[in-house]
Subunit: 268 residues, 2 copies
C-alpha cells in the first residue's frame, strides 16, 4: 500500500440488476460487490473490502446506492469515480465519489432507503421495458389496492411479509407506501397503465418490498380482501401474505444519510 494515512471513500453507484447475481459477493458468480472489489484491486494492487448500503437480490436494479472502502492510495477522493469507471462494465457505474469521516458506514449510517417497484398493466408485451417492469394483464381493482396500501403503511410487525428465514427485528416502519397510477412510458407501444409503488423506510426485512407488492397485486386480483390486511399482519406467518413479486420490477431508488461533515466532494 502506497503512503499517506488511510481515508474512507464513499462511492455513489448505480447498476442494472439483470447483469449481476445480486450485490453480495458469492464464489463463482458475477456480483456487484465482487466486480467493485476486483476493479479496486486492479487499481491499488491488493484486495480492499467494499461495504455496500444494501445487499440487493439478483435482478434488482439500483438507481442510486452507496458503498465505502478505506485506502491510503494517493488518489484525490473525487477522482475515484473516473478511476473505477475505467475498470467497470457499463451496467455498473460510479456516479461520484467523496471522502467521508472514518466512522461513516455505508450500511449502518444510512437513515433511510427508498425502493420503487414498477408494474406495467397491459395486454401487450413490452420488450423495451422488460428489464425494469413486471407486466401483468389481468384487471386490477385499484380502489381495493389503495385501501390495502393504507392498512400496510406505518409501523407493524412485518413477519408475515418477510422470507421465512429472515433474521432481525420484525417491527418495521413504512414511512412511505404509495401507489401511483399513470401512463406507461413512451417506449411501450400499446395501451396500459404504469403502476409505481414507492416504499421508503429506515430498513426492510428480507424480500419485504417484493412481498408487499405481491400482496397488493393479489388484493388487486381479488385473491385477498383489503380488510384482511390487519389479520394478515397479526398472524406473523409468511403463508398468510401474498406471493413474492419478481425481482425485475424492483429498483433501489435512493439511500439517505444524515448530514455529516463533508470533507471533500459534492454534497449528499
Amino acid at each position: 500500500m502506497s503512503g499517506g494515512s488511510p481515508r474512507k471513500i464513499l462511492l455513489w453507484l448505480s447498476y442494472r440488476g439483470d447483469g449481476f447475481h445480486g450485490f453480495a459477493k458469492q464464489p463463482g458468480q458475477t456480483t456487484v460487490q465482487g466486480t467493485l472489489e476486483a476493479a479496486l484491486a486492479d487499481v491499488v494492487g491488493e484486495a480492499v473490502p467494499v461495504v455496500g448500503a444494501s445487499r440487493t437480490d439478483a435482478g434488482v436494479h439500483a438507481r442510486r446506492t452507496a458503498a465505502h472502502f478505506v485506502t491510503a492510495q494517493p488518489i484525490a477522493p473525487q477522482r475515484w469515480a473516473a478511476v473505477l469507471n475505467a475498470q467497470l462494465p457499463p451496467q455498473l457505474r460510479i456516479l461520484s465519489s467523496q471522502q467521508v469521516p472514518l466512522d461513516f458506514h455505508a450500511r449502518y449510517t444510512a437513515i433511510g432507503k427508498e425502493y420503487r417497484y414498477f408494474v406495467l398493466h397491459s395486454r401487450a408485451p413490452s420488450p423495451l421495458l422488460v428489464p425494469y417492469v413486471y407486466r401483468v394483464h389481468r384487471t386490477l381493482d385499484l380502489v381495493a389496492m389503495q385501501q390495502a396500501v393504507q392498512a400496510l403503511r406505518g409501523t407493524h410487525d412485518f413477519t408475515s411479509f418477510a422470507k421465512a428465514e429472515a433474521g432481525g427485528r420484525r417491527v418495521r416502519t413504512l414511512r412511505r407506501l404509495e401507489l401511483y397510477v399513470g401512463d406507461p412510458p413512451a417506449l411501450h407501444a400499446s395501451d396500459g397503465q404504469l403502476l409505481t409503488f414507492v416504499v421508503e423506510g429506515p430498513g426492510f426485512l428480507y424480500n419485504m418490498v417484493r412481498i408487499l407488492v405481491g400482496t397488493l397485486l393479489a388484493v388487486g386480483n381479488h385473491q385477498f380482501d383489503p380488510e384482511a390486511i390487519p389479520s394478515m399482519l397479526k398472524a406473523r406467518d409468511r403463508q398468510q401474505a401474498g406471493p413474492t413479486a419478481p425481482s425485475q420490477g424492483l429498483v433501489l431508488w435512493e439511500v439517505r444519510y444524515p448530514t455529516i461533515p463533508l470533507l471533500f466532494g459534492r454534497s449528499w
Copy 2:
C-alpha cells in the same frame, strides 16, 4: 403445409436492438429476421420467409415495426402473436397480428417511418438508461442545433448524409425533424437533459438518421456552423457531414401504412 388457401399475416413487433445483430438475416448471427423465421418454422414445420418493414442495424431498437409472411396454416390471424411469442426470446415480442390482403407488403406498402434518437446530456453516467440513450457530457449549443434542424428539414439530396456505399434515390424528404429538450427520465440519478430527435419521412438512406444526429451534435459542439448546412447538402459528399452517431440511442418508433381494407384483427 396443412390445408386451406394461403393467407398473408401482418405482425406488429417490438425488439431490443442490443439483443440482435440487426434485423436482416446473416449466417452465424442472431438477427431479428432469423429469430422470427426460426420460430415460425418451429410452428409450421417448414421454412417460411418473413419480410420486415425496415432492416435496422445492429443495436437499433424497434418500439413498433411490422413484418409479414404467407401461410396456409389453419391458425386464426390474431392468434399468431401468442403462438409465436411462445417461441421467441423476451427481447423480441409480437404486439399483435392480423390478416392483410395478399398484395400488402411490409416494406413497399409503408408510407412513413418514424425514428427517435435519445441523447442524454449529463456529466454522470446512467447504467439504467444505457441501452436506449447515447450520453454526451460536453456543453451543447442548442440554439445552433435548432437552426441546423431547420436547415435540414424538408426535401434535399441527402447524399452527404448517407453511408458512401448506400444505394437508392438520394433525394429524400424529412417530413418531421424536431429536437425536444426535457428532463432526463427518473431512472437517471443525476442532473442533465434528455434530447429527443424525432425524424419522420417516407424513407431514409443507409445510416441517414444516425448521420443527421451526429451532424447536429457536431453543430452543438461548434465543430460546424449551422449556416454551413446548405453547402454540406450541396456537396453530395459524405466527408462534408458530421460523424455517425452510435446505434444505441436509435429507436424505430413507428411504421405507418395507408388505411387498407381490414380483414381481421385490430385497426392499424
